[in-house]
């Protein structure tokens, strides 16, 4: 059995897999990894099943002590990870010895990293998933983000085949592709143009539920919707304040604000790696 001790938890480190599918009817959000591609690669490189839980690390990485030997893989944001103060590479299998210490620096570019181990983390499993959803204390180690002194355990099942090859895609934040949402046409022309041509930033009060955006104030007709409407991760809502909110993996399933656009699931991983306060743009292919 493999074991890791959490010396310092970092900013927000939690166990995630590909999330809960089929429970939105009961208002249970999917949760799961914010950057599916990076999590997938971490497992793939170690020969794990695709949906093996991984450790998701956000902006400030944790410090971990290995209590057993292990083989690990780090993907996603480059947080300058070091093992015993020696820099280690992302996107490759790394042999770690008992007593080794892994730490890193706050991310300067994209801001979510993933750590997979040679096996399946032992976690709580709720509604078919090991993903941590801390608002309702579901999944993960104890339903919450990792804390100091937590111990992560896994059954080590190292794959004999570690020869998986891939070309690492550098996370470059280009424009985020969006599609028209159900209430897109409630936007006056000037707001449509602002949505596409202006720069936005993700605000510091964003989290796994939603990203609050700052940019030009977007005007809309019918600011208030009386009834609650369905929303999915990636939906962009526009509250009357004029600042859009993007629903994310831990987000609600219904909301009362116009859904002006949506980010497709495959594009959402890219959005979720945009650093806080870094300007970005949306792109919409269709004419409006």
């Amino acid at each position: 059995m493999g074991k890791i001790k959490i010396d310092k938890p970092g900013m927000y480190s939690s166990i995630q897999d590909f999330g809960r599918i089929g429970y939105a009817y009961y208002a249970i959000p999917p949760s799961g990894v914010m950057d599916k591609g990076s999590a997938f690669l971490a497992n793939k490189i170690l020969g794990n099943p695709d949906n093996c839980p991984v450790l998701e690390m956000t902006i400030i990485p944790p410090q971990l002590t290995f209590l057993t030997d292990a083989v690990i893989c780090l993907t996603g944001s480059n947080m300058n990870f070091k093992i015993n103060n020696i820099i280690c590479n992302n996107y490759q299998a790394i042999k770690v010895n008992k007593g080794d210490i892994l730490n890193g620096n706050p991310s300067s570019g994209s801001h979510r990293s993933y750590l997979a181990v040679n096996g399946m983390f032992k976690t709580l499993k709720h509604y078919g998933s090991a993903s941590t959803y801390s608002n309702a204390k579901l999944g993960g180690l104890s339903g919450t983000k990792l804390k100091q002194e937590d111990i992560l355990e896994w059954n080590d099942t190292l794959s004999k085949n570690l020869t998986f090859e891939f070309t690492k895609e550098k996370h470059q934040i280009q424009a985020i592709q969006i599609n028209k949402g159900p209430e897109f046409d409630w936007l006056p022309q000037e707001s449509k143009v602002n949505l596409i041509e202006s720069f936005f930033t993700i605000q510091t009060d964003s989290n796994r539920m939603g990203a609050r955006l700052k940019g030009p104030n977007l005007e809309i007709q019918n600011k208030h919707i009386n009834r609650s409407l369905p929303v999915l991760p990636g939906f962009i809502q526009l509250p009357p304040s004029g600042s859009p909110i993007v629903i994310l993996q831990d987000g609600q399933t219904t909301g009362g604000y116009p859904r002006i656009a949506y980010i497709r699931q495959d594009e959402l991983s890219k959005f979720n790696q945009i650093p806080i306060s870094k300007p970005f743009q949306f792109a919409l292919d269709l004419e409006f």
Partner: protein, 242 residues
Amino acid sequence: MPYFLLNNQKINIENYNDDFLLLKRDQNDNLRDEYSLTKIGQVIYKSDITFIDEVIATDTEICLKLNNSFKEKDIQKLANLNYKSELNKISQNSKTFLMPVCFEEKDDWNTVEKQTNKTKKEIIESIVNLNFDLAMFGFLPGFVYLNGLPPKLYCARKSNPSKYVKPNSLAIGGPYLGIYSIPSPGGWNVIGKCAFSLNNIPYLPPNILNIGDIIRFESVSSEKLYSIQNNISSITAYNGKN
């Protein structure tokens, strides 16, 4: 636009790039309609259709998140479901609960009084004299959407949602009364604190009330609320349903 007829009423289907479908009526439902969209959504959810990953049913729309197996012709499968028979199977055995609520905090009362043009006393009196029933699941796990608010008490959501709403807060959002179940941001106007949690997490459904169950409210002082919470463990115990 594709549609199907149910009980002689049109259900329109909007397809968003094969990512999701929205099912809508031309006009808003009566919240307690026999063939309400929430009930139709319940039938679709329970039918376990392979091309649908998620069903979110509100009284205004049903959202069906599609997976890669979806083909345009699959829309016909939605029309072919036997809604009448399935709706008859859905249990009609509703339960009734009494929930103590303390309305003493300041909360969002100023906004609610201003929007409804009623005094706090008048609003509380209306609420404690009405039956509310669980309209739908939505927002977050365990959150309770309640039908039964008279139109004169409808209240628009906040322009900018609060970043934190305490669990067990009673709030008004549009035509609903709602109870927040877990800590979360929220755009509804909070008017009181319930004595008990309705959470049933991690089970299904994730709250104690099921669709059609009825809840009534009684106004209690903060001392009484504290005393109830200290002496009685749950709403089921309070209502003698253990």
